[in-house]
């Protein structure tokens, strides 16, 4: 593992010996591709990009090489970084596995746990490494809290709360179509479902409410989901995810209370940097968590995953974690639809996405 340079700005180059001569096949050119491209370039990687839309534009902006087909991309790349809409993750991951290429796949790994297990099984059978990009595990605040919990700083975890809110992406594009995005729980809360499990342990039950409800597979534009988890440790946790009014500033945070202490963080308050610029810039944007002032967590993430793909030590998040996060999101949806608490000992992923 390389040691991240403390306080290094994102624009600096973080070339890493372990990643020398790397060619990444970027598949997809939407929202999240921009931060991945910036990170890969900072790591000194060559990027070939394939996308149904936007590849030329992305390529011009960052100086990438466009390839005209998925097969061409797979042939050219050492491994692929899949940043396409969620509903296409499974198919593209299976194609990469078939081509013998390792995979980094944006969260959610797939839209159902059954599909996640299918791609995991296929990867294992082919000897392929597959990592889900659950970037929140690489955000310094979340990692610091996890470390403190592991070190026993707050004793036994009792009650945890996580939240995540952003300007709704559901006004346009594919997010509002629950069959393609999974809705606000699968798309946004999946981060915190992973965090809740990471910090509080494996989940025994899931209760979920969403308002307004999804009707006929179409998510409301402005919507909030509240999910309560119980954990094997006896801890209880709550996740709130909100697609807010247009212009809502991205915010996330947590409070984790344990038997001997409490840990708290909110991205809006605890940055050590406040600005108020009267230049008419619009507040709020995408669903992409704002980066921290130090090294980009996306860079930290992609470096750790890439080193893992090259045979280094396992990263802090594995495909099984991605599959479990999806499984929890599915259970949340099942709870929402039935009004019942879902028992995770018996819950079976149905594979229905809408």
């Amino acid at each position: 593992m390389t040691t991240p340079a403390p306080n290094a700005g994102q624009r600096e180059v973080h070339m890493s010996e372990e990643l020398a001569g790397l060619t990444v096949g970027l598949i997809g050119a939407g929202n999240i591709s921009h931060v991945h491209v910036a990170a890969w370039k900072a790591l000194g990687a060559r990027i070939v990009v394939y996308s149904l839309e936007g590849a030329e534009e992305l390529s011009k902006q960052y100086g990438l090489e466009v390839v005209e087909s998925l097969d061409g991309c797979l042939a050219e790349a050492e491994f692929v970084d899949i940043v396409t809409p969620s509903a296409t993750h499974k198919e593209i991951t299976l194609a990469a596995i078939k081509a013998g290429k390792n995979v980094i796949c944006e969260k959610p790994l797939t839209l159902t746990a059954a599909d996640s297990h299918e791609v995991i099984d296929a990867a294992e059978a082919a000897g392929i490494r597959l990592y889900p990009a659950h970037v929140v595990r690489f955000f310094p605040a979340y990692k610091a809290a996890w470390d403190a919990i592991q070190a026993g700083r707050i004793g036994e975890v009792a009650v945890a709360r996580f939240f995540r809110q952003a300007s709704s992406p559901a006004g346009a594009g594919w997010y509002r179509d629950v069959a393609r995005s999974g809705g606000v729980i699968m798309d946004l809360m999946v981060h915190d479902l992973d965090q809740a499990r990471w910090m509080c342990g494996d989940v025994t039950s899931v209760y979920a409410a969403q308002n307004p409800p999804t009707v006929d597979g179409v998510s409301p534009v402005n919507v909030a989901a509240h999910v309560t988890l119980t954990h094997e440790t006896g801890a209880i946790s709550h996740c709130r995810a909100t697609w807010g009014a247009t212009g809502t500033t991205f915010q996330s945070g947590f409070t984790v209370a344990g038997s001997s202490g409490v840990l708290k963080f909110t991205s809006a308050a605890d940055t050590g940097f406040k600005e108020e610029l009267q230049d008419g810039g619009a507040a709020g944007d995408l669903l992409i968590p704002a980066s921290t002032l130090g090294e980009s967590p996306y860079l930290t993430q992609l470096r750790e995953l890439a080193i893992g793909l090259r045979g280094g030590s396992d990263p802090r998040v594995l495909a099984s974690d991605g599959a479990t996060a999806v499984y929890l999101a599915e259970a949340a949806r099942a709870s929402m639809e039935s009004g019942r608490t879902i028992d995770m000992k018996t819950f079976v992923s149905t594979g229905v996405t809408a």
Binding site: V157, N211, A224, H226, T228, R240, T255
Partner: protein, 347 residues
């Protein structure tokens, strides 16, 4: 005109604040009684000694207290004792400010409302956070439609376990439960005020006892309560006693309200001057004296309504009233049942 205000019991920690406030008002005569104080297992002073420390007159029994002929009574007994005292006050035509929660059981709460209604006495519930300037601003914005359609609320009422000063808070019989009972109602009241009295239709609660295990508490110390309302609103309340013993004594209450046009988050106890002194952190609250606003509202209503007339509604019904107390108690009761069954409770 001077008002005679009785304080019935020092069991609740808030009695001290009310006694000091009432004692400092020039046109208020105060008399207190805490007959069960002597047998309480609390470390701190109760009864006559506590009254003396607060500088308020004291009598030994509730008989003497009500024989005094009070215009109003503040009921600050253990939760399970509210019903008997409120019914007694109603029978005597005495207006009531009752500490929250209204009661430990819904049937008790219903009986209390019926008694006060029959007697024509005021029944106001002591939910002071309703009087916070930040909350009033939020409510005005919601009412003016500034948030658009409000569809989700996340409330927290954390804070320390009150076991050190008053042990009955962790006695399942006297308190009616633990954190679910003590803390859910404050946020439920704030939500009630925002919605104009929406009723809960479904309540789910998860609770545990991991916090404060070392103190031998027989009740839940952590809880998360998710509520659906008949107006479509969804809310979750974290009612856990999750501020550690060495944590700050302030704060812990927040309400995050999301609408189609944006969101507002309030922390009513946050406004303060900070700093450091010889003993550590300095926290000088500047958010206003909420108890004073609440007690003032109650006393104004008592004055304007005059003596109770049986069967006649008081001229002024101060909010939050008994109906709010009952709606919030129903939520607590459903939360308790849900925490046991593991499933949501339909109301």
């Amino acid at each position: 005109m001077s008002l005679k205000v009785a304080i019935a019991s020092f069991a609740h920690v808030h009695a001290a604040s009310y006694a000091q406030l009432l004692g400092s008002m020039p046109d208020i005569e105060v008399l207190s009684a805490d007959p069960d104080g002597a047998s309480a297992p609390d470390a701190g002073p109760r009864g006559a000694e506590f009254a003396a420390s607060l500088g308020v007159p004291y009598v030994d029994s509730y008989d003497e207290l009500f024989d005094w002929g009070p215009d109003a009574v503040v009921v600050t007994s253990e939760n399970a004792g509210h019903r008997a005292l409120v019914e007694r006050a109603a029978a005597a035509g005495v207006h009531v400010l009752c500490e929250k929660p209204l009661a430990t059981e819904v049937a008790d709460g219903e009986a209390m409302l019926a008694a006060c209604e029959a007697a024509g006495t005021i029944l106001m519930i002591a939910y002071p956070v309703r009087f916070a300037p930040s909350y009033l601003q939020l409510r005005a914005m919601v009412q003016a439609g500034r948030l658009g359609d409000v569809f989700a609320v996340l409330g927290t009422n954390n804070g320390k376990i009150p076991i050190d000063s008053r042990q009955w808070f962790t006695d399942p019989k006297l308190a009616g439960g633990g954190a679910l009972v003590d803390h859910t109602v404050h946020c439920a009241d704030l939500i009630d005020g925002l919605t104009g009295g929406a009723s809960a239709t479904r309540v789910y609660a998860a609770a545990n006892r991991i916090l404060h295990q070392d103190k031998g508490a027989e009740v839940e110390t952590g809880g998360l309560v998710t509520i659906n309302y008949d107006n479509g609103l969804m809310a979750t309340i974290d009612c856990s006693w999750s501020v550690p013993d060495n944590g700050p004594t302030w704060g812990g209450v927040s309400l995050q309200v999301t609408g189609t046009n944006g969101s507002v988050e309030i922390e009513p106890f946050l406004p303060h001057v900070g700093g450091t002194d010889a003993s550590g952190e300095v926290f000088l609250p500047i958010g206003g004296n909420l108890d004073a606003s609440m007690v003032g509202t109650f006393l104004n209503a008592v004055r304007q309504s005059g003596p109770a007339t049986a069967g006649k509604q008081p001229a002024v019904v101060p909010q939050p009233d008994g109906a709010v107390g009952l709606r919030t108690l129903r939520i607590v009761d459903a939360a308790r049942r849900s925490a046991v069954s593991g499933q949501a409770v339909e109301l």
